[in-house]
């Protein structure tokens, strides 16, 4: 593998993986904050508003980190993937530009109002500010997924003589079926992260016997949102995604399952390490015929194996793809189990005293981050060896004029920068959770939006 190409890939993978720690939480928390604000309006109970204010502070810190790590992503298409940008800019730059113009402005403007304006706005007005922040963050997510969805499954384009792609219909790009399915799957994944985070903080308060009223609200809202999102994540969104992928990226599906040979009544591998050279799986634990059933709805269907595709079209890192997919799917199943058990205990009104379950909820919050990251690895490693599936190879897209050493230099710079950022964020967030929803100074000086007339 060309050294520079490898480093450009690591550069993008590292910066985008780190970046996505933040949007998955903010996109997941945004609807939960709207729910808390709605409960406050409905019941008049100030504890809901206090809970909303607490999660808004968490949102604000993570949103800032998402913005500062997101700006490098938009620029990296040009700096590290210049040929790709030149060839596809006429299509994928439009959703990216719309993200900047539409939703980013919306979020920045209303986030200011939402964070600083509670005392100036009526409770209804402040609900609307929360709702518009939610709308903006979900629109942002949509435009980004639309760009990725087009790379996964290109539609509504024509190719000019110079090789460049041009848009024929922006609606076509937005309504790309791949994008719609991937968007549903991505957003419910984000809600899982938000719900587990909320339930974990609540469980911590209950276990530590402090901030009990807030703790119960966090656990209740977190568990109810968590069970809904975890189930939706598998069915219908994950199920549809898997079937659509099998139809349009069959080599990727085969590699995800390490299915080296076409098989009628193909099994689903639960555990085992793929050996690409020998084309086998070490110590496999399988569910017979399950893969054929999941993809085609019948145990007798044939699933195409990697032997049906020329090796140069195989995903370039099959073990990584296989593990990413299995980590995602395995964790997704565990999330349903955790949330179903918690929801049952909540329904029986014994959850707040069930310390063993609260321990599980408290310790579970890192795993949705891992599952979401593994899901994106599945999508992006699975798209290889293509940048634009079937049309443009990854090796044709990087900035050949930027040397390996310069790429390594900026990669190391980003690593250092993000290490520093992580230390600050962990400090601020643990301090915020330590202060609790009832105590502590406001996260932002409230003076900032109050102009001359205050």
């Amino acid at each position: 593998m060309n050294d520079a190409l490898f480093l450009h890939r690591i550069h993008f993978a590292f910066t985008v993986t780190y970046h996505y720690i933040f949007p998955q939480l903010t996109m997941g928390l945004a609807p939960l904050i709207v729910i808390l604000k709605t409960l406050h309006l409905r019941t008049g109970n100030p504890a809901y508003n206090q809970a909303a204010r607490f999660w808004t502070k968490v949102f604000g810190i993570n949103f800032l980190a998402g913005v500062v790590t997101g700006i490098p992503m938009e620029f990296q298409f040009g700096t590290n993937w210049a040929r790709f940008s030149q060839i596809t800019g006429g299509v994928i730059a439009l959703p990216l530009a719309m993200e900047g113009v539409f939703s980013f402005f919306l979020e920045s403007a209303f986030l200011g109002l939402f964070l600083f304006g509670e005392k100036r706005l009526s409770p209804k007005g402040h609900w609307w500010a929360a709702f518009l922040v939610f709308l903006g963050s979900w629109l942002s997510g949509f435009f980004i997924v639309a760009a990725d969805g087009w790379m996964q499954h290109p539609v509504a384009y024509q190719r000019l003589a110079d090789g460049s792609f041009q848009l024929t219909s922006f609606w076509g790009v937005l309504a790309n079926p791949w994008t719609l399915i991937q968007y549903a799957h991505t957003m419910s994944g984000a809600v899982i992260t938000g719900a587990f985070a909320m339930a974990a903080v609540g469980a911590f308060y209950l276990l530590a016997n402090r901030n009990l009223e807030s703790g119960r609200i966090f656990v209740r809202v977190g568990v109810i949102a968590g069970i809904a999102a975890s189930v939706f994540q598998i069915f219908p969104s994950g199920d549809l995604h898997g079937k659509y992928m099998a139809a349009h990226q069959p080599a990727t599906t085969a590699a995800m399952e390490a299915l080296f040979h076409s098989t009628t009544g193909a099994p689903m591998v639960i555990l085992g390490q793929p050996d690409v050279e020998k084309r086998t799986i070490d110590n496999p634990i399988v569910v017979d015929k399950a893969l054929s059933f999941l993809i085609y709805g019948t145990t007798r269907a044939e699933v195409k194996g990697l032997d049906q595709f020329p090796p140069q079209d195989w995903p370039t890192n099959i073990p990584l793809l296989y593990f990413a997919y299995h980590v995602m799917a395995g964790l997704g199943t565990i999330f349903v189990a955790i949330m179903a058990a918690s929801a049952l205990l909540l329904w029986k009104r014994v959850l707040f005293g069930a310390r063993w379950m609260l321990w599980i909820l408290m310790l579970a919050f890192p795993f949705p981050y891992i599952a979401n990251t593994a899901g994106w690895f599945t999508a992006e490693v699975g798209r290889q060896p293509w940048l634009v599936y079937g049309l443009l190879r990854t090796g044709e897209g990087f900035s050949a004029n930027v040397s390996a050493a310069n790429t390594l230099f900026t990669l190391l710079g980003f690593m250092g920068m993000y290490a520093l950022l992580s230390i600050f964020l962990i400090f601020l967030l643990t301090r915020l959770i330590g202060q609790g929803p009832e105590g502590g100074a406001p996260a932002h000086a409230p003076a900032t939006l109050s102009g001359g007339e205050a």
Binding site: A97, V101, F110, N406
Partner: protein, 346 residues
């Protein structure tokens, strides 16, 4: 169609410089003009609710450039790779300085974040000024329209220049002074008392330097790239742009004397926009001139996306910008008037 998008990108970039310019300029003067903690908080509160919205203009302009002129985006972003990555790191540092200062009230941390905010602001202005200098001077584009610029070579403007040479450093210094004046005029508008008085002194001190540097910068630009005058020769009506630059400078001087804070700030906006439009008029129809011969230059015709893409994009872009301008107006109107630290905290 290409010319429309050229104008749109130029205007978005000018909008970015005017808007983010005042908060960058505020940052440049932060350590020297604001002395006490209360004054520094006043500076941050003056830009607090708007600086991140201002930065979105950079993102939106970048996205628009990517869409309308993919070759220019690809070639310039990869060619100026080192400078751009340093700019990204500075943007991160600066955001941390502004936001975390509000979260960590301890004096020790405040000193650290104030320094990070100010240093990052100054370096960002320097890099943006040098970037404009690089575009005006031209870069050694190859036959494939790509290049790679090291941070510096021999500080000459010859065939193999770096990102920094004597001309681009001159542009950077001019940018630093211009944006510092712009930031000071914005802060004068938002503050009162000692801080306001001290900022007025800074404007008076910097104004002669700004006039001198503008004149030297103009002469140096004509010396480095005489072709920039071609469009002015062909269409003398374009001379109105340099006249507006001079009028902006005179306006800053006049309105600062008469104490008309709002007009002085507007004059500075006119100065900045006219300077950038003047550069865009000189460059047209080139987007990134080549120092290795005009055949390699990136121009509107060889960099623009296809006509179909550009027509579709224009509709969506117009809707998006109309909405974005809407919120910008809303946020600024909610935030008008002077900032009074402490007193405003309900």
């Amino acid at each position: 169609m290409g010319t429309i998008w050229y104008s749109l990108v130029a205007l978005m970039l000018a909008g970015y410089v005017v808007l983010d310019g005042f908060d960058l300029g505020a940052g440049a003067l932060h350590l020297v003009a604001a002395r006490t903690d209360a004054e520094r908080r006043a500076v941050l509160e003056s830009i607090g609710p708007v600086w991140d919205g201002n930065e979105v203009w950079l993102l939106a302009a970048g996205g628009t450039l990517f869409y309308a002129f993919p070759l220019l985006y690809a070639s310039s972003f990869s060619g100026f790779y080192l400078a751009l990555n340093i700019v990204l790191w500075l943007l991160v540092f600066r955001a941390l300085g502004i936001e975390f200062r509000m979260h960590l009230a301890h004096p020790l941390w405040c000193a650290f974040f104030d320094a990070a905010f100010s240093a990052a602001s100054i370096l960002l202005i320097v890099f943006f000024g040098a970037a404009l200098g690089n575009v005006l001077r031209g870069v050694p584009l190859g036959g494939d329209h790509y290049f790679f610029a090291p941070l510096w070579t021999d500080f000459r403007t010859g065939a193999n220049p770096g990102i920094l040479d004597w001309y681009t450093v001159l542009c950077a210094v001019l940018a630093l002074v211009a944006v510092a004046v712009h930031g000071a005029l914005y802060l004068i508008l938002k503050t009162e008392g000692d801080l306001n008085a001290r900022l007025r002194v800074w404007v008076k001190r910097l104004w002669p330097a700004l006039v001198a540097l503008s004149a030297i910068g103009l002469a140096a630009t004509v010396f480095v790239r005489p072709q920039l005058l071609d469009n002015y020769r062909a269409a003398p009506v374009a001379w109105i742009v340099p006249v507006l630059v001079a009028a902006g400078l005179a306006g800053i001087f006049y309105f600062t004397r008469t104490g008309s804070e709002r007009n002085a700030f507007l004059a500075s906006c006119v100065y900045i926009v006219a300077t950038l439009v003047g550069a865009a008029v000189g460059l047209y129809p080139a987007l990134l001139p080549s120092s290795t011969g005009p055949a390699n230059s990136i121009t509107i015709s060889n960099a623009a996306a296809g006509d179909a893409s550009l027509s579709i994009g224009l509709i969506w872009w117009s809707i998006g910008m109309a909405v974005a301008l809407g919120y910008t107006v809303v946020v600024y109107s909610m935030f008008k008037g002077k900032v009074r630290p402490g007193a405003a905290g309900e």
